[in-house]
Symmetry: C3
Subunit: 277 residues, 3 copies
């Protein structure tokens, strides 16, 4: 390992990566604020007439297919191709892949035509994408939808295979997170269940991952793992504050972004709980 | 009465209703977070290519016409028809009906073509819809725009007539709330004026109502009344917290969702102020 | 000077200006809440079929070009022309002018075809607009991108020239704010750097400026300066609260809107730091 998750964080803070986001209108404000919180800078632009040009002035690209439509899908492809052409890291969040044909098909086409540095989804979304590849080595149907200590070996194997097949980092969030390239997998045990009781935990994590891989282009695996640790630790700390102040999920959302804003290398190194397999 | 508002709340918590929302981009994040806060689960999707399919995988549908456009209007009809076909409860929020022909006409057409379990609006929006029905029994022009103790009888009669005519529950929010079917009306005296000083109080209430009627399909009247009581009590408690912490309307928004998150049956039964007429 | 910034604030509180916003989906919720916080009332509507009609029922118009697209651009022109026709104040926020041709061209075309009471941007956006006017008196290339005490004279001259040329108030936000018509310039030294670490500080300021100029139509210069002072002071106070409560940028966003909500004439007069040049 030639970088640490702490170094990945410092790189984001020092280089202030500018990220082009084509993302859903539900959590877009949270994505912008968490990009600022982690040390990056956001631009949102989804019209075909400016998508590629905005990609070009940024350092990285975040494509999130929630609330997609024909117009924005076209922009996703234009931006993705431009990012690939310029060698900018691109990150995909296949929100809701499996819930509608439009989402499943769009996510698969994106994955076929665009090279992504990281694909960040939950296990069901990732399995949907893998199943659609139509290869005989398709997703293991025995990988249960939830990653647990019991099926962790299978899930790690699935993540590595996904990463290999698509030449990407497979970043699967859940109670246990798995961030893998074809060779190595980080298994991360940070986070708190209340993260699932706000909208946007996943979208924010993907946006932050885009900032991390853009600031650490030579180390996409470590960068994505670092972003996951930052998010998980922030979730734990935000939950403590929510509990202390007798708040609810809306307070938690605010605190979560706050904790990302306040995160530093020392807290990250002390509280990150991960192993490499 | 064969259910209570407390039982309605418990049903939402136990069944976690999945709600398809086609809603405006102003308050969409708040709607998603309040659905999670109350115990439901949100999906937002507004493209014609996936609208009906997303409706089908959900348990209920929330149509809100704020920031509507041609593309999303088409999706509203596709989703509404699918919900009717499958027997899923659908809820309508006619935001701004009366402010533009596009909104008035769209809300009226929706009300004519789709059967809604509940229509949730303010008194002006509801009167606009009723006036457009073109019947000789049209809205009583004497119903003043604000519901007060003085004109309450007329407003209750209007709500019951609206409910009868459209085979729905008329849920009218204001300083005094009225939730009525053709026979009975809940008059609810919870809430706080500061709720009108944030954007989205109405949209959030409609979204939560969708979760309540989806989890309590046999009791749309009680379910909608329960959602109104939860919102009103949460507004009162959020105001107390805002005052105590010397906050403003943005803090109030956070606290409002927090209080919905923390609400339980005991608080609801103790603090709900309603009568049935 | 025949009005004061304190009187401008009181006018907003007393007249509750209704503002039509065609704005980006990133910060739209914040814009709505800050309009309510300052004493105004927001409507968001961006479809061609209702844009002009919504403008007509409002008192003022706020056009913000972030996340613009073909559909919303058409609505911006329809709304802008209607506002001019009716004599309603219109305000322009050229978000990202200079970042893409679509944004630069749209902002310039708007500025040519619509008469704006105020144009609110950062110095780079304003220079981009001025450079495009194609006159020989174009923007002074010596005006550095950041306004500092050192280049303040040049920046003030630029703002006055911009205001003269477009018959508007040039409202340039930054560490030092400049709000100028062709004759006089307010230089404002309120605010805090953390305002740049949330999304929407600029958009919210523009929305609030629209409310201020709508409530003070005879005094657009003082009204815009008052809105800038309110925002800057609120930023300072929100930062103090964030520091005291060990929060981050998400808490700051909430506190910023809260402070606008709590602002009164006394605080404004006591804490505003401006000079007129």
């Amino acid at each position: 390992m030639d970088t640490t998750i702490e170094q990945c964080l410092e790189q984001v803070r020092q280089t202030v990566p500018l990220i082009h986001n084509i993302t859903n209108y539900v959590t877009v404000n949270d994505c912008a604020n968490i990009l600022l919180a982690c040390g990056g800078s956001p631009i949102m632009a989804d019209d075909e007439e400016e998508a590629a040009q905005i990609t070009a002035v940024c350092g990285g690209l975040n494509i999130n297919i929630g609330t997609l439509n024909k117009r924005t899908i076209a922009s996703m492809f234009l931006a993705g191709r431009k990012a690939n052409e310029l060698g900018h890291p691109a990150v995909l969040d296949p929100v809701g892949a499996g819930a509608s044909d439009l989402r499943t098909d769009t996510a698969r086409r994106l994955l076929e035509e665009i090279r992504f540095a990281v694909v960040r989804g939950n296990i069901s979304e990732m399995k949907t994408l893998a199943a659609g590849a139509g290869t005989t080595k398709g997703v293991d149907a025995d990988v249960a939808d939830r990653v647990t200590e019991e099926n962790l070996d299978q899930a790690v194997a699935f993540a590595k295979e996904f990463a290999s097949r698509y030449n990407t980092v497979a970043a699967i969030s859940g109670a246990l997170d798995i961030v893998a390239d074809g060779e190595r997998a980080y298994v991360i045990r940070n986070g708190h269940p209340v993260m699932a009781q706000i909208t946007g935990s996943g979208c924010m994590l993907t946006a932050m991952t885009a900032a991390y891989v853009t600031a650490n282009r030579e180390h996409p695996l470590e960068a994505a793992a670092a972003a996951f640790c930052v998010m998980g630790i922030s979730g734990e700390r935000a939950y403590e504050r929510m509990r202390r102040e007798n708040g609810g999920n809306a307070s938690f959302r605010t605190y979560l972004i706050d904790e990302v804003y306040k995160m530093d290398g020392q807290v990250l190194m002390r509280e990150a709980k991960y192993e490499v397999r």
